[in-house]
C-alpha cells in the first residue's frame, strides 16, 4: 500500500523557508494552559502598517476602498484607515495576506513588491507568531507626480 492517499494536513512542510523556527510554534505551547487567538483585524493592521513603511508605496486599496478612504479622511476623527487594501485569513497558526497597492511612479515594482513582502511577513511573524503561508500583492494603480487628487500616505 502506497502512501499516495496521505491525508492533506493544514501544516506547512517544516523548514521550507529559512526563518527562526521558534516564533510561530510559540502560540501552540502548553495547550492545557489555554489557547491564544488573534483576530483578523490585528493581522490586518500590522500588515497595513508594515506595507506603508516601504518607500514607494503611495497608498493602499482598490478603487472603491480608496474612494471611501478619501471621504473618511475629511471626516473629523475618521483618520486614515490602516486596513484599506489588506485582506487576511487567519488560522490558528498560519495566516494568508492579500495586499492591494498603489505605487509611486518610478518605483521598481518587482523590487518594491519584494521589499513589501519581506517587511510584512517579518512584522506579522514577529508580532503575532503566526506563520505567513501566502502573501499576494496586487499593484492596481500607479501614482503619477503632480496627480494630487489624493493626499500622500505617510
Amino acid at each position: 500500500m502506497t502512501n499516495s492517499a496521505a491525508p492533506i494536513t493544514t501544516h506547512a512542510p517544516p523548514a521550507q523557508r529559512a526563518k527562526p523556527s521558534s516564533a510561530p510554534a510559540r502560540l501552540a505551547d502548553d495547550p492545557s494552559h489555554g489557547k491564544t487567538t488573534i483576530a483578523a483585524s490585528v493581522v490586518q493592521k500590522i500588515a497595513g502598517m508594515a506595507a506603508r513603511e516601504i518607500a514607494g508605496v503611495h497608498t493602499m486599496g482598490g478603487g472603491v476602498s480608496r474612494a471611501f478612504g478619501a471621504l473618511r479622511e475629511r471626516i473629523p476623527g475618521g483618520g486614515i484607515s490602516s486596513t484599506a487594501g489588506v485582506h487576511v485569513e487567519v488560522g490558528e497558526k498560519q495566516a494568508a495576506i492579500d495586499l492591494d497597492l498603489v505605487v509611486e511612479y518610478g518605483a521598481a515594482i518587482v523590487e518594491l513588491a519584494r521589499s513589501v513582502r519581506r517587511n510584512v511577513i517579518t512584522a506579522v511573524e514577529r508580532m503575532t507568531g503566526l506563520e505567513v503561508i501566502e502573501m499576494n500583492i496586487s499593484v492596481n494603480d500607479i501614482h503619477l507626480p503632480g496627480d494630487a487628487t489624493e493626499s500622500k500616505v505617510e
Binding site: H33, G34, S41, V42, K45, I46, M127
Partner: protein, 100 residues
C-alpha cells in the same frame, strides 16, 4: 501584582485589573458580539469571563502596537494563573490600538 484575590472583590474584577496593568494592554474588549464578559452584582466586567474558581478563564484584549503577541499572551496567562490558579486561559487578541 497581587498574588491573591482581594477580599470582597470578585475574581473577574481582580483579573481585569491585573490585565489592564500590563503595559502592552490598551484595554479589554467584549470579544465577538460582546460575548466575553462576567456578570457580577456590581455590573458586568467586559473582556474577562471568569465565573467560578477552577473553571477556564477567557480574556479578550486590545493590545498596543508593537508588542509581540505570543510573549504578551504568555505574560497575561501567567498573571491570570497567579490569581485564578492553574486553569486554562484562553486569550483573544481582538484588536490593536493605533498609537502612532
Amino acid at each position: 501584582m497581587t498574588a491573591m484575590v482581594r477580599p470582597g472583590a470578585e475574581l473577574a474584577e481582580c483579573i481585569a485589573d491585573a490585565v489592564r496593568a500590563h503595559p502592552a494592554v490598551a484595554g479589554l474588549h467584549g470579544g465577538p458580539s460582546g460575548m466575553v464578559a462576567s456578570y457580577l452584582p456590581s455590573g458586568p466586567v467586559v473582556g474577562v469571563r471568569a465565573s467560578v474558581a477552577g473553571e477556564p478563564v477567557e480574556l479578550a484584549v486590545v493590545l498596543r502596537f508593537g508588542h509581540p503577541v505570543p510573549a504578551v499572551a504568555a505574560e497575561l496567562r501567567a498573571a491570570v494563573r497567579r490569581l485564578a490558579g492553574p486553569v486554562a486561559v484562553d486569550i483573544l487578541v481582538a484588536d490593536l490600538a493605533e498609537a502612532a
